[in-house]
């Protein structure tokens, strides 16, 4: 039996370089930076902090049925991106009410700012007497449940918490469930907020850059913390055709595995294996890949390991490799979902987003990182890398729809 092909029919993004698809696309092409002084999380004890926050986000623009004060920041983002994606796919909110549309959202830290606030309350009061409303708001499951509740959807509603591979994990699972016939249409992606927990942690392990992320650069100093949400409408081809949907691209498949080695340092062999699994599942070979949207965090460890893994797999014909984290920072669990949107736009508009802030290539990162300027070229197969703490790896493969 031929398996259903799965296509992307809607996109929604909340990001530090634009919270609508056109603005996001133009920002990617022009190498716009989201890096600015931090405003939206508890910076106590730190000097000036540069991160990549979502600017001018008005939740009430997107959230109509849920009191905004009952939602944490990450849930507000996921609802906004989901609503945008659904409308982009050609549905009104009324069309989908009561429908069995599943919602799968990936995240690293969930409602991290709410958890930060629980800690702050404890530190201020000296006791663990938590505000019950805040406890309720801080549940990771809310990132998906809040979308289902707001849009009145009846499909499965789960949050994948597989660190910085989570966005691809959610998208990959949606792919599987659609192919298995468990739904015709799914909302999937990732959501994340900047938070104290993450800033403290990455600073403590010397993986936080002071001003900018410089993936693959010899002087790279680490990540810039980012946030946002990327949500995709995935659909079976037969469903998309039946309603004459605009098809952005095809999700060819994905691969996922676990390093089972270090909890924080990437494993070259395991990543190379994951790339191979993704290619096999997507029915492509290394030679078919026209562009790799890298995990490219800008840490010493990741960029070196990612390059080494790419070299292992793409021995003869290495495609260009760029990192949009050079523009939007590391949005953790949302990263590979926002990057998925970048990949789909890249295929549709035939461009490769640049790796910005690139000054001197690290000779250990011997890839064509598309430095500082976009490249306009036909893209047919695009690979989207996502690697996380815990050794979780997930790679999605997108193709031009033919």
């Amino acid at each position: 039996m031929d398996r259903e092909r799965i296509v992307v029919t809607g996109l929604g993004v909340v990001s530090s370089i634009g919270s609508n698809i056109d603005e996001f696309k133009n920002s990617l092409i022009h190498g716009k930076s989201g890096f600015k002084p931090a405003e939206h999380f508890n910076l106590e004890g730190f000097g000036s902090v540069i991160n990549s926050e979502v600017k001018d986000f008005d939740p009430e623009r997107y959230i109509h049925h849920t009191p905004v004060e009952e939602l944490g920041r990450s849930s507000r983002f996921s609802i906004a991106a989901a609503r945008m994606a659904i409308e982009d796919a050609g549905f009104s909110a009324h069309d989908i009410e009561g429908e069995p549309i599943p919602v799968w959202v990936g995240t690293t830290d969930g409602e991290s700012q709410s958890l930060d606030t629980l800690a702050k309350g404890w530190a201020s009061k000296g006791t663990m007497q938590f505000d019950p409303d805040l406890v309720e708001i801080s549940l990771a499951t809310n990132l998906s449940n809040a979308v289902s509740r707001e849009l009145k959807l009846c499909g499965e509603s789960s949050t994948f918490v597989t660190a910085c591979a989570a966005g691809n994990c959610a998208i990959g699972y949606a792919f599987d469930q659609l192919q298995a016939g468990r739904a015709q249409l799914a909302l999937c992606g990732g959501s994340e907020s900047v938070c104290r927990k993450s800033y403290v942690g990455f600073t403590r392990i010397a993986a936080m850059a002071p001003e900018k992320a410089q993936p693959f650069d010899v002087n790279r100093k680490g990540i810039i913390a980012g946030e946002g949400s990327g949500m995709l409408v995935l659909e079976t081809l037969s469903s998309a055709r039946k309603r004459n949907a605009r098809i952005y691209a095809e999700l060819l498949g994905y691969g996922s595995n676990c390093d089972a080695n270090s909890m924080v340092a990437p494993d070259v062999d395991s990543i190379a294996r994951c790339i191979g699994i993704a290619h096999e599942n997507a029915g492509v070979t290394a030679e078919d890949v026209d562009y790799i949207c890298a995990h490219g965090t800008g840490t010493r460890a990741n960029d070196g390991a990612e390059t080494a893994a790419i070299n292992m797999v793409f021995s003869s014909s290495k495609p260009p490799v760029s990192s949009i984290k050079s523009m939007i920072g590391h949005s953790m669990g949302a990263a590979s979902a926002i990057a998925s949107i970048a990949c789909v736009l890249a295929i549709q508009h035939q461009f490769i987003p640049p790796t910005m802030n690139h000054e001197i290539t690290d000779e250990k990162c011997d890839i064509d990182c598309v430095p500082n300027e976009p490249r306009f070229t036909d893209l047919r197969v695009v690979q989207n890398n996502g690697f996380g703490f815990g050794g979780n790896n997930a790679i999605t493969m997108y193709g031009a729809f033919e």
């Binding site: 990771a140 449940n145 009145k152 949050t159 597989t162 676990c258 089972a260 270090s262 050794g391 979780n392």
Partner: protein, 336 residues
């Protein structure tokens, strides 16, 4: 009906039997990582991770051939609503109360990611297949098991350890106490860890493992109108049609019964589905047996079901959580 997905091992860690008493938090007495797992590699291990690895340690020897020969086909899927909330909140607390915000322990940073338990279980036992952690409130365990079944069906992995885990530790207890107070009931929460080995039947035969139960079907959903009973009944009816097993052939039913409101909906569903029968199925309410184990609930429901079903007997377990997540699973007993 799902083709050939079976359960070939089960293990659980729960406090010894005690009265389910309102206003209590049931913890494992004298439980800590180094005590149950040894001193090596456990100094910084959080309680949630320790509960996970300890449960898995009960059956991991059964998988030793595969771990040697095919570790890339061995996966882990773990259900947890919030990861180690104690690790997360305590890490931020330390950054606020110490002299400088970066005076935190770097070796605790990994504990603050919600996939730490699954990731560290993979490190401990060299499990290089798919490794996923899923949060679906009090349906987290069922989501995890549903995911495990899905990746085996797709052929991504051959054998997957899946289940749920909930710890009671400092922040976790305080958070649950606050929630229960808000919802106007005295809590009875219990920490627990429960995991299973899921695989295809040919794989079970290949490694000569006994089939404890056969997975007939799993279905998850969401009820945005959470006080209306129809969604749960419809989901279960849909699952029974999918499995080809009519209600009359179900001999045992398990509901979670975690909160008065959700218990009412679940028992209402039992009445709607089974009341017309002359002799209905045996009924278990998990809360009455062990309290609310949150992310471990559905795993313990399955553990109980698998232990009690006779060969070929069909069982149904389901739950609705406070936020509207709903799910159900049908299994049949294997050879004992």
């Amino acid at each position: 009906m799902l083709e050939n997905i079976v359960i070939t091992a089960q293990a659980k860690v729960v406090p010894p039997e005690a009265e389910v008493e309102a206003g209590t938090f049931e913890t494992l007495p004298d439980f800590n990582a180094s005590k149950v797992l040894g001193k090596k590699g456990t100094r910084n291990m959080d309680r949630l991770t320790a509960l996970t690895i300890y449960a898995v340690s009960h059956f991991i020897e059964d998988l030793s051939d595969q771990r040697t020969m095919a570790s890339e086909r061995l996966g882990v899927v773990l259900g947890t609503a919030q990861g180690s909330i104690d690790s997360i909140v305590r890490f931020v607390y330390d950054s606020l109360v110490n002299e400088r915000p970066d005076l935190v322990s770097p070796s605790h940073f990994a504990n603050t990611t919600m996939n730490c338990a699954a990731g560290l279980a993979a490190v401990w036992y060299g499990l290089k297949g798919i490794n996923t952690t899923v949060s679906t409130g009090e349906l987290s365990a069922l989501s995890a098991m549903n995911y495990a079944v899905s990746i085996i069906e797709k052929g991504y992995n051959d054998t997957v350890i899946a289940g749920g885990v909930e710890d009671l530790d400092g922040v976790s207890i305080a958070a649950k106490a606050a929630l229960a107070e808000k919802r106007g009931i005295s809590p009875h929460f219990t920490e627990a860890s429960s995991f299973f080995v899921f695989e295809s039947e040919p794989m079970a035969r290949k490694y000569d493992r006994r089939v404890l139960a056969r997975v007939q079907g799993v279905r998850m959903g969401y009820n945005p109108f959470k006080d209306k009973p129809d969604a749960l009944v419809q989901l279960i009816r849909g699952l029974l049609v999918q499995t080809g097993i009519p209600a009359e052939d179900i001999v045992r039913v398990s509901v979670a019964g975690s909160w008065p409101q959700t218990r009412e909906l679940e028992l209402g569903a039992v009445h709607t589905l089974f009341d017309h029968q002359a002799s209905g199925p045996a009924l278990s309410v998990l809360f009455e047996q062990v309290g609310n184990t949150v992310s471990c609930n559905n795993a313990l429901q399955l553990d109980d079901m698998v232990s009690r079903l006779g060969p070929g007997e069909n069982g149904l377990l389901f739950a609705q959580d406070f936020n509207g997540n709903i799910g159900a699973m049908v299994v049949s007993g294997g050879t004992k």
